[in-house]
């Protein structure tokens, strides 16, 4: 229990991940599914960046020469920048498809769409 409180970044990230996961799976509404997807991605970003953070250190922008221990680990931050770009593009693509689905089927509820069947 004590570990959960000292590592509160990770605990929060895992809770958010669960929230996103359940939202993505349990809701029929496509917009809610996409929101869940985003929450899930954000949780992973939080987890990753928390791994690179060193308490009391600065952002790795070199102004005056300092030893390497004075800066946080920039690698997770850089990786998550890529991750954010990827998540944004997937979200935009999914939203564009949702608009098309709404035009064609008249609803954004996946269960109703599946009930309508194909052909």
């Amino acid at each position: 229990m004590g570990h959960l409180i000292t590592n509160y970044y990770e605990t929060g990230a895992i809770i958010l991940f669960g929230v996103g996961f359940v939202t993505l799976l349990a809701h029929g509404n496509l917009i809610k599914k996409i929101i869940g997807m985003n929450i899930m991605d954000t949780a992973v970003f939080l987890f990753f960046i928390a791994k690179g953070y060193i308490s009391g250190s600065e952002a790795p922008i070199i102004r005056s020469v300092k030893s390497a221990t004075g800066y946080i680990n920039p690698v997770p931050t850089a990786l998550m920048l890529t991750g954010i770009v990827v998540a944004v593009s997937i979200t935009a693509f999914a939203l564009a498809l949702t608009i098309r689905v709404y035009e064609k089927y008249g609803t954004v509820d996946l269960n109703e769409i599946i009930k309508m069947g194909g052909e």
Binding site: I61, L81, V85, S89, A92, L95, A96, I99
Partner: protein, 147 residues
């Protein structure tokens, strides 16, 4: 339809403020792109600012202005050309680095000056163009429903 009605009631305040503010946003975007190798920022951040200024321009002045020249096809050509330049430069760098070839490399310049940092400046410019166009295309897609 709603959007078109809204555009008809364009207000003077918006147009005047827009005329004042948009050039500054664009100059700032170019500054961020060109100083990406010296300070925080770079192609992605600057491209987003440039894209935001294009969106603002589109919202304030509507379709009948400069922006109307940015048709989907033309914008896509710019984007593909930037991607090609990016791919070619980065591919060259990857290949020569991986093969340990000592061939021509872009001059490094003096650290701290604008023309320094090797490939980073041209790559930042390419990324800036790509990102600004992507942001603008996303906006167009969701605002107008079509591209």
């Amino acid at each position: 339809m709603n959007n078109i009605q809204r555009e008809a009631e364009r207000s003077d305040i918006l147009t005047e403020v827009g005329k004042l503010i948009i050039p500054f946003i664009q100059v700032f975007a170019v500054y961020v792109i060109f100083n990406g190798h010296l300070s925080p920022g770079g192609g992605f951040a600057g491209g987003t600012i440039l894209g935001a200024s294009m969106i603002l321009h589109r919202l304030i002045f509507g379709w009948d202005n400069l922006i109307s020249r940015l048709t989907y096809e033309r914008v896509m050509k710019w984007m593909c050309a930037s991607l090609l330049i990016y791919g070619a430069l980065k591919g060259y760098s990857f290949l020569t680095g991986g093969m340990h070839w000592e061939v021509w490399d872009i001059p490094l310049g003096t650290p701290g000056k604008l023309l320094s940092g090797g490939f980073i400046l041209p790559l930042n410019i390419a990324v800036g163009i790509i990102v600004s166009i992507t942001v603008y295309v996303f906006f167009k897609l969701f605002y107008e429903g079509t591209i």
